[in-house]
Amino acid sequence: MNGIKKEARRGERLPVKIYRTSGLRNPSLIVGWQTQDAGKFSSRVINFLIEKLGGQEAAKIQPEDFFSFGGVRFKEDLVQIQESKFWASEKGNLLIFKSDEPEFEHYRFLNSLLDVAEHYFQIKELYTLSATVSLIAHTHPRRILTVFNQMGIKKRLEGYGLESMTWQGPPAISSYLLWVARKKGIPGVSLWPEIPFYLAAGEDPGAMKAVLSFLDERFNLHLELRVLDEEMKRQGEEISRLRGENADIDGSIRRLENGLPLDEEEQLKLAKEVYEFLRRKK
């Protein structure tokens, strides 16, 4: 018996609303987070998939048990609302979920997420999207570091050029979700593309391209990714212009390109200058 039925039996209110359930057959679930989203990677990949695949709203987790509602957040002058929604895409047989990270009841939230995905959509596997901020230059290829919750799915995804992560420390919500999925017997992987630290406050089309290329190949999505190539080219040209104008910035990026470290002050300066420059050019 799955989790939802267990909850229902206990008489607890289900914190979900279902709009549609048909059309998908044992889909893969892709989860992205729009808070603490370095390089806007996760939310942009999810939005890209929903738009290009014609995803249909399928369900949502009701927010009141998980968020404080002490006001409203705004970003770049726009009011942001907490949303935790599922979209169904028959193309690629995907269930896509995008949400803010919950403020309370994390375990119940993650359980509800997977209960909906399992019970109403019978998902077969889980992919989570998060980025890792790295001391690399934007001219470097983006590696995709991975964490699997079972050996089986790790074996199945050999040959895609993914790299294994080794790490100990405070867990991100993607790792927590992966752990809850393992408890439920759902195979899953977290995808952590590297983002150059000086693009983390802005956007990194390079990381998006790397992960979307992987998903494209994995699910035969036939995505048109030229738009990202153009974005990367534009961003590269802008940064080249900044390098031409500012010898310190050029020196710092050159050091990264040669695999050399930067001290804290140099890192802060590079991150600030690149962010401000790209923002002005937008």
Partner: protein, 311 residues
């Protein structure tokens, strides 16, 4: 439903059910200077108390650590909330030690529904074993000089306990502290909340708070000197002698750090501060705020101010 099933549903796991007679219960959570939890944990270790149960963490806490090796998720580690027991002479003793206070919205000290639930679960286990009295412990932020021996300030759940705690060594009730002559305030966090929950269910409660200088209350390091004072009271309560040498080295290290801050006080400020040695229990004044400037950034506590100290 059998009690075992009900408890499981509530998130209480007991590995064994010791036969205890009206045990005293000592409870510790982290707080300012970790005075209470260090006191309770040290007592538990000295007495060699045996772990016998826990409160499941999943519904209360975000995991504190993940281990990933070669691309495989090995596991998550959650803050623990564990019960221990021991017999000391003729007395049975229960311990509860929580590594973190459950809270809402990332606050450091327990508050809200989860904190209330946790306090009730701890009490539930105490009542199951016939516990009639609970001791919690925390910090009493006061205008004490750091070179003085911290006193223990007590708040009790009923009038008849006042005389008893006044007989404890180096202990005063809160109204005897000059800043608190009205005997009023709030003990924030679970070290306070548990006393309220206990009182409402007919269980006696005593909160023993070790003094910490006001200007150190925002520091990130522990204050073992005050834990020692609290432990001396615990020993009196249990009628035993305890060897506190395990606190010697941490106390020496912290003293060294605190003295290094103190050495940087300007002369005038130092003179004003040193008056605390002769005229103790003055109200804390501007010295508090000024002195905090001399604590290095790396030693300042992140997150919210306050804690379990009365406010």
């Amino acid at each position: 439903m059998r009690r075992g099933g009900l408890w499981k549903k509530m998130g209480i796991k007991l590995y064994r059910k010791p036969k205890l007679k009206h045990p005293l219960m000592f409870v510790g959570w982290p707080g300012i200077g970790n005075i209470g939890i260090i006191g309770v944990s040290t007592l538990k270790d000295i007495l060699g108390a045996v772990e016998f149960g826990e409160i499941e963490s999943l519904d209360f806490f975000y995991p504190k650590r993940v281990a990933i090796k070669n691309g495989l998720l090995e596991g998550l580690e959650f803050p623990s909330s564990k019960f221990y027991y021991q017999r000391v002479g003729e007395k049975d003793v229960l311990f509860f030690i929580g590594e973190e206070q459950p809270s809402e919205g990332g606050r450091m000290y327990g508050r809200g529904e989860k904190a209330y639930q946790m306090a009730n679960l701890v009490l539930e286990v105490g009542l199951r074993f016939g516990c009639k009295r609970i001791y919690t412990s925390g910090a009493c932020v006061s205008a004490i000089h750091h070179q003085m021996k911290p006193r223990v300030c007590a708040v009790v759940s009923s009038e008849n306990l006042v005389e008893e705690v006044k007989r404890y060594p180096n202990t005063i009730v809160m109204s005897e502290l000059a800043e608190r002559s009205e005997g009023e305030g709030i003990i924030t966090g679970l070290n306070g909340l548990l006393l309220g929950v206990a009182k409402s269910r007919g269980v006696e409660g005593v909160c023993l708070m070790g003094e910490i200088p006001d200007w150190l209350s925002g520091a990130s390091f522990p204050y073992p000197k005050a834990s020692r004072s609290v432990l001396e009271v615990f020993a009196k309560i249990l009628g035993i002698d305890i060897d506190l040498h395990s606190l010697d080295e941490p106390e020496r290290q912290i003293d060294e750090i605190v003295e290094s801050f103190y050495a940087r006080f300007p002369t005038e400020m130092k003179e004003e501060y040193d008056q605390r040695k002769s005229i103790i229990q003055t109200r804390s004044g501007t010295i508090t705020i000024q002195a905090q400037i001399y604590i290095d950034e790396r030693y300042k506590k992140g997150g919210e101010e306050g804690g379990e100290a009365p406010s």
